[in-house]
Symmetry: C2
Subunit: 172 residues, 2 copies
DNA sequence: CCCCAAATGAGAATGACTTTCATTTTTAAC
DNA sequence: GTTAAAAATGAAAGTCATTCTCATTTGGGG
């Protein structure tokens, strides 16, 4: 059905068959751009912003526009292939959702992110939704605090330029 | 110390003494604008957007600028007097934080918000932070789903103009 | 191959804030 | 009370992430 041969990047085409399947599942046409973006999402590191993905992709695929990156990431996230994470008013961060569901513990100083999962919490959430007659479709659980490193290095690192509200006092 | 008399709105001044204390606690000067905004926050309904507060306030205080509303709401939220809630990329919503801590269960269709509290979840969160050596400073727990009403009225209401990602399929 | 709906990219538009700055207020000191 | 310095304000401009528009290109069924 699908002959294996090399594309212009000397990458075996069948590397992409898995990615193609995903794009097909979304009911979209298979384009080089989407393959490149999807490949980046799957193989790159998690918690990237759309902007970062765009810049990174631009190096090898200068022809990809950021609109395409945003559009496709949205589609992927709408269909559960990637998870969109937002903290405060900061740009959305995305991650490939092939892993088991998990939540995030974020350091408000260095913005480091630790992933965790906790079945008990998941179950309690379901129970709560039930109590109010809701059908749960999604949830966001983000914990914020200071990571071990930032607890010691008090005030050494400058607070990242974006403000951080949420009960912290930035002016001390 | 403070003589009770009427201000130009024929409202007893001591109505505001509580509000003034809050503003003082923030290290800010007491202005008519801040009193008006704070009064709105305390007595108005919860989960308002900055824009909504601005518009509502404009009726009685046409001189208040939206910059002032945003600035003051931010200050209040930084100091824990109000809680900032964000869902998806939608405008931040604020609520007076005089109540016990609670989280939100939001209907993705009608955007109705139910508040709940669950001590078990709170404790589990602390435990998780501990496990990673984090000092917890804050957290966000937002549950999303369909409220009982919206479960039955399938597709009757148009989806609010702002898209809703998160594993829902808007195009069906 | 051909065609056309789907996809793309460049740039304009949007929308929620934030910042700037010239003017007005507050308030602490007389 | 006056007053002056510091803080606050509002109008408007700026920012920034994201979305939209639209003219052009492209994938893929026929």
């Amino acid at each position: 059905m699908e002959t294996i041969h090399l594309n212009e990047n000397h990458t075996p085409l069948n590397d992409n068959s898995h990615l193609k399947e995903i794009i097909r599942d979304l009911g979209l046409k298979i384009t080089q751009q989407r393959l490149a973006i999807l490949n980046h999402v799957v193989t790159g590191k998690a918690h990237f912003t759309a902007q970062a993905a765009f810049e990174s992709l631009s190096k090898t695929h200068p022809e990809i526009g950021f609109a395409t990156v945003y559009r496709f990431l949205r589609k992927l996230s709408e269909n559960g292939y990637v998870t969109e994470v937002r903290m405060g008013g900061l740009p959305a961060r995305y991650e490939w959702a092939h892993k088991k569901h998990h939540d995030h513990l974020t350091c408000t100083k260095c913005q480091g992110i630790v992933e965790f999962e906790n079945q008990e919490i998941e179950e309690l959430q379901e129970k709560i939704a039930d109590q109010f007659g809701f059908v749960l479709t999604d949830h966001v659980l983000e914990l914020f605090g200071l990571c071990p490193k930032c607890q010691t290095k008090e005030g050494e690192l400058p607070v990242p330029k974006n403000r951080f509200s949420s009960h912290l006092e930035p002016n001390n």
